[in-house]
Amino acid sequence: MELLNALVLLLNYTIVPAITYGSQLALGAIFVTLVYGVLRFANFATGDMMSFGTMFAVLLTYYFQSVGIGLGILPTALLTIPFAIIAMILYMLFIDNFVFKYYRVKKSAPVQLAMVSVGVMFVTQAIIRIIIGPFDRRFLDGEKFILKASEFKEMTGLNEGLTIKSTQAITVVVTIILVSILFWFLNKTKTGTSMRAYSDNEDLALLSGIDPKRVVMITWIIAGFLATVGGVLYGLDKSYKPFVYFNNMLPIFAAAIVGGIGNPFGAFLGGYVIAFAEIFVTYAYKKFFTYLLPESLEPDSLVQLLSTDYKFAVSFSILVIVLLFRPSGIFEGKKI
């Protein structure tokens, strides 16, 4: 019984949130890795692009709510995602055409493009602040919980409750669907193969008749999907605050690098590695040990390795360690 309580406690406060958070990071990390693999630069505007897409979803959600369109028990935001994706893709293609293309045609060094993306980041941040402002917004509606702690306790008779929020379930389901489609596309379709070929050997891809403009466009379209869906899922689960999205760039980059930059499947797994590490390191295990250990050995302190305020230190440390010891990422496998 004590053991079960301890496990449920761990499940409720670490594993379920980590799977959710990991899925959200994974989508962002695949975005980073795809742009790096195909366009060959580290896109520092990643976080704010995710924020930009989410902004549309938030605004549209408010609009849909005001005119009474909804999905019942599901959040209205799900309905707005397709529109937000379109807006996001248009913005990305616009930015690419007016900013990145110039440097790509000039064959600028990757570091130069990365600096350019910092500029794009600032501009995007400013646009977001002008349109929606810097405040914290909640746009989740519909049924909040799939499983409430009290229900779980009643069902099982345990002391500890397990909560599953609807946003957590939606995050996992949507991520699985999106990522499956993406990997099917990259590995099984002609266009996907041409993207991987272009990423692997640009010159030979050109000689094989692959149109670089098309590859770049499709990359941004996929990026638009990943950025918007990842951003909206994160916003639904926590809340939409532009600055937080900017902050999330560190764990997202860490996830992409842990997985081996340029390797989408690695980035996907990397998202979970970072999320689990962050949550396991910052969780206070006092109650967990109280269940497991005899009374005499019960810990006095919180048994927390690191305060949650320092959670970014975890991503940062993993980033540094991976770059020092396994710069090609911890997962073996194909690049895109």
């Binding site: 193969t193 041409s194 991987r196 010159d203 094989s208 690049k335």
Partner: protein, 235 residues
């Protein structure tokens, strides 16, 4: 008039000096032509000029009577000219089969038949078809590179030092493969360092020196020419 001709080509990289000077290379379908010469003679440059990877300052490139001097490399590929670069000539992170599929990117029709033909030509590729090319040996990679280039069913195949960095045994094997490609009525131009071996399978050869045609003739003629022997073949 040959099927594929580079006539009096003069070209260089960017604003630099001319690397090739009034250089002429001709090849017919079903013929192997070797471009030989010392280091820096402009062998690869001549080939790249014919493919359009650098612009001609003067001269012309003609295929089947059509002037293609102004076409981009991609458009020349569509005209049936395939190129195997010396390095990075495969997609190392893709499987053998995917390499072949990418090679056929310009084809609209069903490519499975062409893939089967390539497998007949290079049986080892069929065995390794789902393996990532980065894991193959040097000789197998070169076969993938040849196979990829043959997927568009080219009339002209250009090879930039196909045997660079492979062992002598593999080199003989590769030359045998090249001969088999020739039998499918493809015109082959190759730049080679292994002059003797290259000439032994070539119908004709060009010897370039400082970007100009110095000698040309059939493989045997060049092999037996005392001056060519002394200068390039080591006696």
């Amino acid at each position: 008039m040959s099927f594929f001709e580079g006539n009096k080509m003069t070209a260089g990289y960017g604003k630099g000096p001319d690397i090739i000077n009034s250089c002429t290379i001709k090849v017919d379908q079903g013929e192997i032509v070797a471009i030989l010469g010392p280091n820096g003679a402009g062998k690869s440059t001549a080939m790249k000029a014919m493919l359009g990877l650098l612009n001609l300052k003067s001269g012309s490139v003609v295929i089947d009577g059509v002037d293609i001097s102004k076409l981009s490399p991609q458009d020349r590929v569509k005209k049936g000219i395939s190129f195997v670069p010396q390095t990075k000539n495969v997609f190392a992170e893709l499987t053998v089969k995917e390499n072949l599929e990418v090679g056929a990117f310009l084809r609209e029709d069903n490519i499975n038949k062409v893939i089967e033909e390539i497998f007949d030509l290079f049986p080892i590729l069929k065995v390794k078809s789902s393996q990532v090319v980065g894991q193959l040996s040097g000789g197998q990679r070169q076969q993938v590179a040849l196979g990829r280039a043959l997927m568009i069913k080219p009339s002209i195949l250009m090879l930039d030092e196909p045997t660079a960095g492979v062992s002598p045994i593999v080199m003989d094997e590769l030359f045998q493969h090249i001969l088999r490609v020739k039998e499918t009525n493809v015109g082959i131009i190759m730049v080679e360092q292994n002059a003797k071996q290259a000439l032994s399978i070539s119908d004709r050869g060009y010897v370039l020196v400082t970007g100009e045609n110095k000698f040309e003739g059939s493989g045997d003629e060049l092999l037996n020419d005392p001056e060519v022997r002394r200068s390039f073949l080591g006696g």
